[in-house]
Symmetry: C2
Subunit: 203 residues, 2 copies
Amino acid sequence: MPMSATILYMSMSLDGFITGPNDGPGNAMGDGGMALHGWLWANAKPDDDPMVAVSKLTGANKKIVDKFMASGAVVAGRGTYEGAHGWDGDHHGGAPMFIFTTHDRPDWAKDWPLAHFSDDLAAIMRDAKAAAGDRDVMVHGAGLVQEALRLGLLDEIVIHLTPMLLGAGRSLFEEIGEKIDLERVQVIEGEGGVTHLHYRVKR
Amino acid sequence: MPMSATILYMSMSLDGFITGPNDGPGNAMGDGGMALHGWLWANAKPDDDPMVAVSKLTGANKKIVDKFMASGAVVAGRGTYEGAHGWDGDHHGGAPMFIFTTHDRPDWAKDWPLAHFSDDLAAIMRDAKAAAGDRDVMVHGAGLVQEALRLGLLDEIVIHLTPMLLGAGRSLFEEIGEKIDLERVQVIEGEGGVTHLHYRVKR
């Protein structure tokens, strides 16, 4: 039986940023940071809703999106969850969402039962894997990456490497403080210059 | 006639480091940073001299090394030059070396006429291109990358992306402070998990 894997999916610039500077409430991707997600709009109109934009993807980019949209559960940090306004209650297809936070459920999310909140990342990953069954767990957001790596809770990493130096912003990895070896699983050249780098975390 | 291009070649971890922590005189690659160059030793013995190790490369890794060893001139920062002890006077095949530094020529390099020293990076790049003729200019080292990018002096970037998170060290790009778009030229999967990412800097 295939094991469920926890897989980080993040769009990152060549200089390691996943947002522009000044990210925060109301500016989830930071100044200019939406350029990191430009590849998702490769075949879409600029004002298309994200889900509409993604539905127009083709080729390698479509395959990658199809892969993470087939995840059986989603794990995210609070900043990511709030920045996306909780994906309006459903990230995709009714997959349960596990949010890593020390805060209680926000009021605006009180009628969204798919979302669960906890400050115990090990429990979150365990529950997400259980909920996902034989499907994978999509992990998203920088706030929990370092802790997930330190605790050995991340199985795989998929970086959507965007063709730009962003110049400033939030670093995905910052200083983890220890060397972690990776195994290259696959490299896929997407349209628009994005390169999908898929690694397995070695233990 | 093909134009000579200035091309940065650097081995970098997925978290953006080009040395381990505590790099400096006597510890050019920082603590544990030699792992970034592991791909150059893919077919060599651990104690092989770098030039011997490189001569044993095969496949994609050999092609990349052959490409930068065919450069008509080398541009490097002082830290890189001193860390490599001036490549004992000759980086490869008698190519002139242009070192970006505010210091005078070191005493130990006084009999090595291939090396030139200047604190004017624009002049260095111009002289290096002139010396290279129709061949390319290999650029190496982090100390000058940010200034080269800011001044529009870097034409292309080749990252040897090594399959690891190094956890700490010297960042290649740090915060350049402005967004710079890149055009993906080529992606090559090398043996041992290294991925060679070749970009053109857009102006």
